[in-house]
């Protein structure tokens, strides 16, 4: 327990060390999550447009 407390203390530099790693890892995680939600939004919009696409396709095959 004491060893961990000492570890997190970072020899008195806890704010600087964890402030660096915390923000960096937070940004990286946020980027991945944003990209995943952007992908989901993309396919949602696509399915909203899908009926229109289908009609286009049918027209194409008939002409």
């Amino acid at each position: 327990m004491k060893a961990w407390a000492q570890f997190f203390e970072m020899g008195g530099y806890a704010f600087y060390v964890w402030g660096s790693y915390g923000v960096a890892l937070l940004l990286m995680a946020a980027e991945v999550l944003l990209l995943m939600s952007r992908r989901r939004r993309g396919s949602l919009r696509q399915s909203a447009e899908a009926p229109k696409m289908k009609v286009l396709k049918e027209n194409e095959t008939t002409t």
Binding site: Y16, V32, R39
Partner: protein
């Protein structure tokens, strides 16, 4: 022995690159997680504390990889943008656009961690010296590229304008790299230099290299994710994309 020829040109078509990128993402994501775990473990638990800077020096394991990635990614973005200008294949410009936000993020991380390292070691968050200022300019170049692209509605024109900015801005990268040699600065000299042995202990060097590898794998992962989003957004009316999304439902 017969050598199987891979037609690389095939993958410059978004329709072929989209599924390839999708298959590569899990591979690079797993590598990222592994390298990040090992790198942080070695950096925090195996490497000893620095004789001069104590525990604060451990910021190096995120600061240096982030700064390197910001520079590397900018050059890579400029190369892709240049290829887009030269060959007019859509995929190159999409790659350049996919790299920019990740490069901007790493530039920000290098500035942020630099400030948090500078405060206890130099006694200041920020100085207007060559290394720091040129890195700030790199961050603004990324932001400029992103906002220029999103400000122009016509995609082709947006790509071309962005490519010009990316190529002109590439001059800044060697300035950042050599700034610690060319000018007097508070910033310490390069830890890693080509053709010279590193100026730190082997175990510290190992942690640093693993973290750099982790950041590379991370960059590849998110760039592939983003380029897939960009392809789908731009090409969603193309028959292959509509078909693929129809299947996914």
């Amino acid at each position: 022995m017969a050598r199987r020829k891979i037609n690389w040109y095939k993958y410059t078509s978004p329709a072929n690159f989209y599924p390839l990128a999708g298959k590569l993402i899990p591979f690079f994501a797993i590598l990222t997680a592994l390298l990040l775990a090992v790198g942080l473990y070695v950096g925090f638990f195996v490497a000893p504390k620095d004789a001069v800077q104590g525990e604060a020096y451990r910021i190096i394991y995120i600061h240096v990889p982030a700064a390197w990635m910001a520079m590397f990614l900018y050059l890579l973005m400029a190369v892709y943008a240049g290829l887009g200008l030269a060959f007019n294949a859509r995929i190159w410009a999409m790659m350049a656009a996919a790299i920019a936000p990740t490069g901007a993020m790493f530039a920000f991380i290098s500035l942020w961690t630099g400030a948090l390292w500078g405060r206890p070691m130099w006694g200041t968050w920020w100085v207007w010296d060559a290394r720091l200022t040129s890195t700030l300019i790199l961050f603004f170049l990324y932001l400029g590229f992103i906002s220029l692209q999103s400000a122009i509605e016509d995609t082709r024109r947006a790509d071309r304008a962005g490519a010009l900015l990316a190529l002109v801005g590439a001059v800044n990268v060697p300035i950042i790299y050599f700034s610690v040699q060319w000018w007097n600065t508070l910033h310490q000299g390069a830890t890693l230099r080509l053709g010279r042995s590193a100026s730190i202990a082997p175990v510290m060097l190992a942690a640093l290299l693993i973290m750099i590898a982790a950041c590379w794998m991370y960059s590849i992962t998110v760039t592939l994710m983003r380029v897939r989003n960009i392809i789908m957004e731009r090409e969603r009316h193309a028959p292959w994309a509509a078909e693929l999304l129809g299947e996914a439902k």
